[in-house]
Amino acid sequence: MKKLIASIIAGAALATAGISAASAGTLEDVKAKGFVQCGVNPSLIGFGIADEKGEWSGLDVSFCRAVASAIFGDPTKVKFSPLNAKERFTALQSGEVDLLSRNTTWTMSRDSSLGLMFVGVNYYDGQGFMVRKSLGVSSALELSGAKVCTQTGTTTELNLADYFRSHNMPYEVVAFEKNEEVLQAYEAGRCDAYTTDASGLYAERLKLTNPDDHMILPEIISKEPLGPAVRQGDDKWFTVVKWTLFALINAEELGLTKANIDEKKTSDNPEIKRFVGVEGDFGTGIGLTNDWAYNVIKGVGNYGEIFDANVGPSTKLGIARGLNNLWSKGGIQYAPPIR
């Protein structure tokens, strides 16, 4: 109900206030108010979650901090808006948040009819299934007749239906409003399988009483390129957010880390010189200072560091880089050059 009210209020704000934020220039607005308002997931380990002290962490949260670093040179100049799946787009459309960084799948309909612009992909994901090991199932293709629990208001319901229909398998979907209830119902045995983005499955599995009794099936049934999004019609802001993402990826490729960026500032490598702003006027070209990319890495580290710290093999989630590795290392993360 709270969400419904929130989305109605956001809708009403949209109806009466108009898209004033977009027309005034988001970058100027953000600079004037002194912080970035960032829409994030409130309860997904590794992507967006607040600890008991109210300290936010996660891959998507770090991206918000990266944008704040690029603009202000200070990763703490962010305010977070916890958003659920249903209210996230309205929050961005209505100007309630400046940036949506909430494990959101980039799809054509979201570009074409929601007035969003995805700046790129900060995590290549795909929808998977978690089942009990005792079920004796080793492939999603054996799930014929299964009862599947999921969260409502996401693309997962549609992918699920497409997958089972295309393989001629009967199924039953039980869709809850919140992750917490999906997990409880799955744990109580209401469903044979739990489906959501694979990254989410790893995170949710940790919350089960006996995580080792459950396994994630190898099939990935959909493409879920997750990325940050901004409103359409504000190219300047779009460019700033887009190049912040590219800076994170380029830094990893150039070997620039949070620890070594200061000493690399004096590097002779022309690519690094351009990156840290010693050469060229790239920062001022997008309305920032020339050391914007240096600030990003100084503030949050490069893409690989963020990945490893939040979801990588050494964390509880233990997700391998896979597709999210650099293009030069067998993955598909690739950013246009700064030059």
Binding site: A10, G11, A175, A188
Partner: protein
């Protein structure tokens, strides 16, 4: 010129009288208010449309014809993933109506029993009723909903096991599995026989009352009516060669684990989400209805029941023929409120995965992104349903209202 002056002054006098006329003033202000209201509504609608267009957000209700593509676990009408969004919303709407309708029925019956019990002279009964009312009214409905849903889930056998009652009712975590009636040719006639039986029983009941009023003797109209309701369809059923058969749920306890349990497509399943929601809504609302009933009964003067007792009526008769009919006048208006509350509270369904209008609409909203349209559909539906409930209750209220002569 003097004549002109007088004319102008008298015209001014007439105009002042016209403006100062309370009826005219009232009319002018009312028209002005309506114009302002219409302008305000139009401005909001127009502003919304323009803002949506400026933000490149698609608008309009055209999406209702597009393919939905997602599954729904409980459907009262035919629905597949290939059906349209409009159809999906219809499925959600019917699910809302089902749980609200049944919830109202159960809450009313339970509420009346508890309300009367609270006034009982039996100490234990009245205290139990009081405890029930105080506990259920003072815990938020959402918590009760989670409690009942997960209590239901955790207390029944898992998917590959079952409890069986009376040979045909099977319960496990997948829900209540019962035989599904299959209607062959001639089943319609049996249905007509049932309707004829009900109408005949009502007529017999009326005849019985008339006869009692005329002669003082009460014929066994109840028994005759029951015989008609059960007998007529039974006769039709056998005469037509048993056109209704039952599809029994198939339970498999062999083979791979996933294939065990009740087989999809056999029998009929009532999902646990439905039970959880129905239980929570009706138990919660029953507590409020009980208080309404108690207030209504207390509002009937003590002299009424004393008079009834002195006429020789027993306790039950006093309640049925003297107290309750008068109490209904007090009970019905707040009862309407409780019915409206129950219907609106059914939108909590989404929390426990019951596919009501809000839940299905939420999925539609997310897939299409048509937030304004979807929210307007929700509002129109709940408003319409509430107005309809109020209308029915107001008609009933008028029928039981005191007729003054």
């Amino acid at each position: 010129m003097a004549a002109g002056d007088i004319g102008a002054r008298s015209f001014g006098g007439r105009a002042a009288a016209f403006i100062n006329n309370p009826a005219v003033r009232g009319l002018v202000f009312q028209i002005a208010f309506v114009v302002a209201l219409v302008w305000f509504a139009w401005d909001i609608a127009d502003n919304t449309a323009r803002n949506l267009q400026r933000a490149n957000i698609a608008a309009g209700y055209g999406f209702l014809d597009r393919t939905a593509g997602f599954g729904i676990v409980q459907k009262l009408v035919d629905y597949t993933e290939a059906s349209s969004y409009g159809r999906a919303l219809l499925v959600g709407l019917l699910n809302t109506l089902l749980v609200a309708g049944l919830g109202i029925l159960i809450a009313t019956i339970l509420g009346f029993i508890i309300g009367v019990a609270r006034l009982s002279s039996n100490w234990l009964i009245s205290r139990i009723a009081t405890a029930y009312i105080e506990i259920l009214r003072n815990i938020p409905l959402l918590l009760q909903l989670f409690f009942w849903y997960f209590a239901v889930l955790r207390s029944v056998p898992g998917m590959r096991e079952k409890w069986t009652f009376l040979g045909i009712f099977h319960i496990n975590i997948g829900g209540l599995h019962v035989p599904r009636p299959v209607f062959a040719d001639g089943a319609g006639t049996v249905g007509i026989a049932l309707i004829v039986g009900i109408i005949a029983a009502l007529l017999v009941g009326r005849w019985g009352r008339k006869r009692q009023e005329a002669t003082g003797q009460a014929p066994p109209a109840g028994w005759i009516g029951a015989a008609l309701i059960v007998g007529l369809p039974l006769v039709a059923f056998f005469a037509l060669g048993r056109p209704i058969s039952f599809d029994v749920p198939v339970f498999n306890d062999q083979g791979p684990i996933l294939r065990r349990g009740f087989q999809a497509g056999s029998g009929m399943t009532v999902i646990p989400e439905f039970f959880g929601l129905l239980l929570a809504l009706s138990l919660y609302t029953a507590a409020y209805i009980a208080e309404t009933v108690r207030a209504g009964i207390s509002a009937v003067g003590k002299g009424q029941s004393e008079a009834a007792h002195s006429l020789g009526l027993r306790n039950g008769q006093t309640l049925r023929y003297v107290v309750i009919p008068q109490a209904m006048r007090v009970i019905i208006p707040p009862l309407t409120n409780q019915y409206l509350n129950l219907t609106k509270n059914s939108s909590l369904a989404v929390a426990v995965a019951y596919p009501d209008l809000v839940s299905v609409g939420g999925t539609v909203l997310n897939q299409t992104g048509q937030a304004v349209e979807m929210v307007s559909i929700w509002m129109i539906f709940y408003l319409g349903l509430s107005l309809l409930t109020s209308l029915v209750m107001n008609i009933w209220n008028r029928r039981v209202a005191l007729v003054e002569r």
